[in-house]
């Protein structure tokens, strides 16, 4: 799209989306034990753009639960200004970010910034991002990711997106939003349920189950074009899609041969292969990060438990043993842990297993938890749960310390899926 067309279309698009979307709001309900004190000063230049970017950076860092924002006293200075490190150290800030906003020749904005270690009095690096006015928050997320990675040593996920389903006024909306719940857009509207969205590894497509044909059918949907195609519509039910890590295949659950069983299929719907052959229910497949294995739920032992099997089949091995209901397994992207939902004394709670020690920890304090989804850096897990009779999303750190809640004003939110890193 030409810059001129973009300029004309954008306000119109925002207007139409404004009516269709149900905006998520975020509430922080827990924080880490040792938060890094950091100051983000205002960026000189366009004051509105500066406010949008710096407030996005501050909100991201604060929401993560890993940072404590030290007041910047309304000070503004740019990325090359002389910093009085002793002064900022005295105010309790271990790190400080300064920057500037300038309008580039084509009318877009350029945000530049630099991060400093006030203890050592050294620069930790900087970057510049060019963006349109509509994308200023995206630039803020990129800056927050940079700061997060420099100060914690792990990649930030502020620039990632999440998918989820909103049920409101008898309609089901499959929505995509930034990781802070802002900038929500509706990818699919249906009068029939939509469940189990999962992101393709490249972040461009979603696979999901739609009931628009009066039965569950699996679709793959390209977000930018809105084009979608059916991946599995066999006789019976078609559900629980999971992408292989290379994005070429999907593990799916079909009932075409009786009860629910695992199969794999190419992303275009060709090359169907059966993975499991049990006499009960096998469902909720998820590939391990290296693609060699599939975790899934099965009632083959008399109660629903988590099992693992080779990606092409073979012998299944039981993974969960405590309790009579352990479902919805999700291996972490770093391969170290497994999140799942465990029923304990009638409560459905998020549990995390350390795959090396097999130790299990319940990490949520809610009791109708469903559909866990790891952030790409494996630190946070997004779940659907219920608060005050309404469906909300909750992000919980894998150690259970940090908690955030995402809700919409006039509806139920469910079926969250955390997208991959920004490409």
């Amino acid at each position: 799209m030409s810059p001129i067309l973009r300029f004309i279309f954008l306000p119109f698009f925002l207007l139409t989306v404004g009516f269709a979307q149900a905006q998520l709001s975020i509430e922080i309900t827990g924080a880490g034990a040792n938060r890094i004190p950091v100051t983000i000063v205002d960026f000189p230049g366009d004051p509105t753009a500066s406010r949008v970017i710096t407030s996005t950076v501050r909100a991201d860092l604060e929401r993560s639960g890993l940072f404590k924002l030290v007041d910047h006293n309304n000070l503004a200075f740019d990325e090359s200004a002389q910093i009085n490190f002793g002064d900022w150290k005295g105010r309790g800030a271990d790190a400080l970010a300064a920057g500037s906003i300038a309008r580039s020749a084509d009318g877009r904005m350029e945000a530049r910034f630099r991060l400093y270690d006030t203890q050592k009095g050294v620069s930790l690096g900087g970057a510049a991002y060019v963006t349109s006015n509509a994308q200023l928050r995206a630039a803020g997320h990129r800056i927050a990711d940079f700061i997060y990675e420099k100060l914690t040593g792990e990649k930030g996920v502020f620039s990632t997106r999440i998918a989820y389903v909103v049920k409101a006024r008898g309609q089901f909306l499959l929505q995509i939003a930034d990781s802070d719940g802002q900038n929500a857009a509706t990818a699919l509207t249906s009068t029939e349920p939509i469940i189990s969205p999962v992101w393709s590894p490249d972040g461009g497509r979603l696979a999901y189950v739609s009931f628009e044909k009066k039965k569950p059918v699996i679709y793959v949907h390209s977000l930018a074009s809105g084009q979608r195609h059916i991946v599995a519509n066999f006789k019976g039910s078609n559900s629980a899609p999971a992408w292989s890590p290379n994005g070429q295949k999907l593990a799916v659950v079909l009932s075409k041969d009786g009860f629910s069983q695992l199969y794999s299929v190419n992303a275009d719907g060709s090359g169907l292969q059966r993975i499991t052959s049990s006499s009960g229910i096998d469902t909720e497949p998820r590939y391990s990060a290296d693609g060699s294995m599939i975790y899934f739920t099965s009632d083959r032992g008399g109660s629903p438990q988590v099992y693992q099997i080779g990606a092409n089949g073979g012998d299944a091995r039981r993974v969960t043993f405590e309790g009579s209901y352990n479902v919805s397994p999700r291996p972490s992207p770093d391969g170290k842990s497994l999140a799942f939902i465990s029923r304990r004394e009638g409560r459905f709670q998020l549990a995390v297993m350390d795959l090396a020690t097999r130790q299990v920890q319940v990490v949520s304090d809610s009791y109708k938890d469903e559909s866990p989804s790891f952030a790409p850096n494996s630190r946070m897990i997004l779940i659907a749960t219920e608060v005050g009779g309404r469906g909300v999303l909750s992000a919980v750190s894998s150690d259970g310390r940090i908690k955030q809640r995402l809700s919409v004003a006039a509806g139920d939110v469910r079926e969250p899926a955390w997208g991959p890193y920004y490409p």
Partner: protein, 181 residues
């Protein structure tokens, strides 16, 4: 020549990356790589299906065949004795009217995993299917599917709502393709 090309390629690669080091490189990385709209998400509306045109004996409230729901006990998947007559009536109709097809939709209550419930609902639909085929209905006339917990008949959150939602429904379609699914 080769020596010159590699640094040029490297700097082109670096320019495509999200982060541009300062101040060594004066170029800036664009943020808007999601093309199209500001969100990069094009909205789509899913199409529905129309239901109509079934014979009166299937829809008249005075006809037994208008009863289309079979209820199940908690964690149970067998068709209870009290529904044997109803299933037999549908089996008789389907055997006599081979042009008709049925979609059996299994349902569960809201508790637990959506996908696991989808598989439990499938078990209920399969149980009704088995009863029909044992009474002589051709497999080709039947499709058993599950709606899991997604389409509750009763939206409540107590045992009376849950018992209404542990259910399999029978939907009909005529030879002309018109019907309820």
């Amino acid at each position: 020549m080769k020596k010159l090309l590699i640094p040029a390629l490297l700097s082109a690669l670096l320019a495509a990356c999200s982060t541009t080091p300062l101040p060594e490189d004066s170029g800036s990385a664009p943020v808007e790589s999601r093309s199209g709209s500001s969100t990069g998400v094009a909205p789509v509306t899913a199409g529905g299906l129309d239901a109509s045109g079934l014979p009166r004996e299937l829809t008249d409230p005075k006809s037994k065949l208008s009863q289309r729901s079979i209820y199940f006990d908690l964690d149970k998947y067998e068709v209870k004795d009290e529904y044997k007559d109803l299933v037999a009536a549908h089996a008789k109709y389907l055997s006599a009217n081979k042009g008709f097809k049925v979609l059996l939709q299994g349902n569960t209550d809201e508790r637990g995993s959506r996908e696991y419930n989808l598989s439990l609902g499938q078990k209920r639909a399969e149980a009704v299917k088995r009863s029909l085929t044992l009474l002589g209905v051709a497999e080709s006339q039947i499709e058993s599917v599950s709606l899991g917990e997604e389409k509750p008949k009763n939206p409540g959150h107590d045992e009376s709502a849950w018992s209404e939602n542990r259910r399999a429904d029978i939907l009909y379609k005529g030879a002309d393709g018109r019907g309820e699914f």
